[in-house]
């Protein structure tokens, strides 16, 4: 149990909740049958105590980071490694990451490949169709800064010229492990989110 103090900041305490920390870890620990009534009770009492905004954020962040739905599209080479991450060996779905085909069901856009100027405005449209809050991962060197094609006439040198990027993953293409690491880093970011 000596590891408990270190992990507290990561799993137990909610940085967004201020000094009156919401006893959120208990909600997380509850299981199945007990969960819904207990959560209901905790939520009602907490709303009465602290007001709505302070409470919704941690619950929302917890739910959001454990079920990131990336947009199912493949731009280039990294898309194959993206697909491999959902295959038998890596099984990205154990992190709650399930690709969805419609941008309206997604909260994460993984830009997995070279972005050209021709696809740029379609990428922005897809990004705008995603509901808030939303995140972007630039996967691979092409999405980060153009990669080997950065001098080409048709290539956007980095997708951050078009949409705000939260996590960059290096590699050409990154291995599936690297992609999963990027998603876990994004979960850390969401955990720290305040507004």
């Amino acid at each position: 149990m000596s590891a408990a103090p270190e992990t507290k900041g990561v799993r137990g305490e909610l940085p967004g909740a201020g000094e009156a920390a919401v006893p959120f870890v208990e909600i997380e620990a509850l299981r199945s049958r007990e969960f819904i009534p207990a959560a209901k009770e905790a939520l009602t009492s907490l709303i009465a105590e602290q007001g709505q905004s302070k409470l919704i954020r941690p619950v929302f962040n917890w739910a959001g980071r454990n079920s990131l739905f990336p947009l199912h599209w493949g731009l280039a080479c990294c898309a194959i490694e993206f697909a491999a991450a959902f295959g038998a060996r890596w099984d990205a779905e154990r992190f709650g990451v399930v690709p969805r085909s419609s941008p309206r069901q997604c909260d994460l856009m993984i830009v997995n490949g070279t972005v050209t100027w021709k696809v740029a405005h379609k990428l922005i449209t897809l990004y705008e169709q995603m509901p808030e809050p939303k995140w972007v991962i630039a996967m691979g060197n092409c999405a980060t800064g153009g990669g080997p094609f950065r001098t080409a006439y048709s290539v956007v040198p980095g997708v951050d010229k078009l949409v705000p990027v939260d996590v960059y993953i290096a590699g050409c293409p990154p291995r599936p492990e690297a992609m999963l690491e990027g998603i876990l880093r994004l979960e850390d970011l969401i955990r720290l989110r305040k507004e």
Binding site: W73, L75, A76, G87, G113, T114, K122, F149, T151, P173
Partner: protein
């Protein structure tokens, strides 16, 4: 009558990449189609004019990301002809082996994606599992899973590691059993047959008129395979049959690809046996200094050492997993190629989309386009 144009793409699960299929429909019936390409046009031909002969190999892996070795092989054959170089025999066998492994990996990737489009999830998991075994083999001698940068003008970068052929044989033994499993999953499934039989028919005559090659052409009964018709590397020294079907539909293309994988295993067994008994160099000797990538990194001074080098034109064509790929390299005596022109099989197969889509229904588009095996990186280049 209510006709309208709809866009399937660029972001659509059917596309397997970035392209847009504009479809004119009346109800469920397809009246006309117009593929819209270029969403992944990365100017590879232009960048190649700015790079060393060996540096272009980097781009080749990314041109077709499911068949990187095949495209490296294609470009290297063209560049060697343009530079008047000859690789050692062992390098030729290693290239043949790499291309055949890549063919299996590419076909398995196609199988995983295609059958998933039809709504069957387990083939995707099976396919990715078996493909990872092949990628592990690639990784053991190139260091990378997908983008290898392995072949060089005049040979290959390094020899195979110790014990590679035994590991490879084990993988082949595993795969040949799995192919049977794949077949049972698909050909044994009534749903699969009903969704695929008689769809996307493209006759042999139309295939030739519209330049369609690869499994699509062979599924129409034409046994054109450049490995047989115009053997390159070690293909004239191995024994195999050209896979063929006669139905010219989606099921036919499936059967051709499955048979091709079995033939690839057959080729690989012969090549691995040869490699066991014939050690030797894997790079040609007396390479010009600025091509000597395995011996020393290319320094900036190398550019100044303008060696006299004969001009030339190189042409190579290989049977890539998707079809006939060709390259035309113009060497004007510099360290960069003057012009590199690629022929992508997917590009041409897609240009005939009107011939095999019109008249079918909207729900038939995923199986038909899946059977074409689209790789947008190579079609847009």
């Amino acid at each position: 009558m209510s006709e309208m144009w709809i866009n399937m793409g660029p972001q659509h699960p059917m596309t397997h990449g970035l392209w847009n299929l504009r479809v004119q429909i009346d109800g469920e019936l397809i009246l006309d189609v117009d593929p819209e390409m270029g969403y992944l046009h990365r100017g590879i031909e232009k960048i190649s004019e700015d790079r060393h002969y060996n540096e272009v190999v980097t781009l080749m892996d990314r041109t077709c990301y499911v068949a990187g070795m095949a495209w490296e092989h294609l470009y290297i054959l063209g560049a060697e002809q343009a530079l008047h170089l000859q690789p050692p025999e062992r390098a030729e066998y290693i290239r043949t082996m790499s291309e055949e492994f890549q063919r299996i990996a590419s076909h398995i990737m196609w199988y995983a994606a295609f059958v998933q489009d039809l709504g069957l999830m387990s083939p995707f998991l099976y396919g990715m599992r078996d493909r990872d075994l092949l990628l592990d083999l690639f990784q053991s001698y190139t260091g990378a899973r997908m983008t290898y940068e392995y072949m060089r003008v005049g040979g290959v970068r390094n020899d195979l590691p110790h014990g590679f052929t035994d590991r490879a044989r084990k993988v082949l033994d595993w795969l040949i059993e799995r192919f049977q499993e794949y077949d049972q999953l698909c050909m044994g499934s009534d749903i699969f047959r009903r969704r695929c039989d008689g769809l996307g028919v493209l006759s042999a005559r139309d295939c030739i008129d519209y330049g369609v090659t690869g499994p699509m052409l062979r599924s129409a009964g034409v046994a054109r395979d450049l490995r047989k018709d115009r053997p390159y590397s070690a293909y004239d020294r191995v024994d195999f049959d050209v896979a063929r079907a006669t139905t010219a539909d989606v099921t036919g293309r499936y059967l051709v690809r499955m048979e091709e994988m079995r033939q690839s295993v057959r080729i690989l067994r012969q090549v691995l046996d040869w490699l066991d008994h014939h050690p030797g160099p894997v790079m040609a000797e007396n390479l010009p200094r600025w091509l000597g990538a395995p011996y020393a990194p290319i320094g900036r001074e190398g550019y100044l050492l303008k060696r006299e080098y004969p001009k030339g034109v190189g042409f190579a064509a290989i049977e890539e997993p998707h079809g006939e790929a060709a390259v035309y390299v113009v060497n004007q005596g510099g360290e960069h190629p003057y012009r590199v022109k690629f022929r992508s099989p997917v590009y041409v197969n897609l240009s005939a989309a009107r011939k095999y889509l019109v008249g079918y229904h909207v729900a038939d588009i995923p199986p038909i386009m899946g059977s074409v095996d689209v790789c947008v990186g190579e079609s847009d280049r």
